[in-house]
Amino acid sequence: MKTFWFLFLLALAPALWAIEPLDFADRSEEVRFQKLLRELRCLQCQNQSLADSEANVAGGLRQEIHRQMQSGKSDDEIKAFLVARYGEFVLYNPPVKQSTWLLWFGPGAILLLGGLALVVHLKKRGQPATAAAASTDDW
């Protein structure tokens, strides 16, 4: 049993190396820190959030965000600081504006168009004039 626990804890160790230890005043501050990191993208490995990334630059940004949090900056102020330096790409939730309309509304528009096409198609099929065609489809 001792061996099991030893191996189990050893297996967890890499998770500890990934994130450098940081001090927090209380639990709620740590939760806020982790939540903010998940909303921010690592610039080097772009499909990871700052919370997950082990990239060199991500570690530095985590420390900087932690430092700014300690000095009383709000989440929005910290985001603005990062956007000014790395661009809006750093945000996983980019703001709604003209250049991001396609990103925000594109999937909805495609769904709407597809739904409309489906409705039109089904209505046509329901008409008696197409009964002959429908019987050949019936398989």
Partner: protein, 174 residues
């Protein structure tokens, strides 16, 4: 019939969307800095820590700010090219030794050559954050008045030097 054109139209639309993405490298991000003043900084020199560099002390003439580190393998690729441009074309090259250890950085320069006129030492990476550096190597063309004219991500090639960096540096000379 008109109905037969619908799949064609859908195909054309999808093709257009996919076509517009071809040839674009999604890992290259536009810099928010280009055209705006470079961030203020203050850092000791890597080779002589008693000297301090700032945006003001380096200003007056355009230069290429090159982010490098001893742990960065790609930096070795561009290093001989930068060295050649300093030697043959009088390039003003300022280094930013980023997230590095002074001893390792100096040993690296001893081994691969040291073409830099001045080197900012930034072990914490704080100056790198202000410049929006995501990985080494990265290079910035800074105008005489301290404006960021160009940002290059990754190793600089002879082609990059000829088509972008040198024309900007020469054009930026008052």
């Amino acid at each position: 019939m008109l109905r037969a054109l619908i799949p064609l139209a859908v195909f054309a639309l999808i093709g257009l969307v996919l076509w517009s993405g071809i040839g674009k490298d999604p890992s290259i991000l536009p810099s928010t800095l280009i055209g705006s003043p470079a961030p203020e900084f203050s850092a000791p020199d890597l080779r002589d820590p008693s000297r301090t560099h700032s945006k003001a002390s380096l200003g007056g003439a355009p230069y290429l700010l090159n982010v490098f580190a001893s742990w960065c393998p790609t930096c070795r690729v561009e290093h001989p090219i930068l060295e050649r441009y300093v030697r043959e074309r009088g390039l003003r090259l300022v280094g930013l030794n980023w997230k590095d250890d002074a001893e390792a950085g100096l040993a690296w320069l001893k081994q691969f050559g040291d073409p830099y006129s001045d080197i900012l030492y930034d072990p914490s990476g704080r100056i790198g954050i202000d410049f929006g550096v995501t990985a080494a190597p990265e290079s910035f063309v800074i105008g005489a008045d301290g404006t960021v004219l160009y940002k290059h991500i990754g190793a600089l090639t002879v082609e990059d030097m000829e088509t972008r960096v040198m024309p900007l540096l020469q054009g930026a000379t008052p």
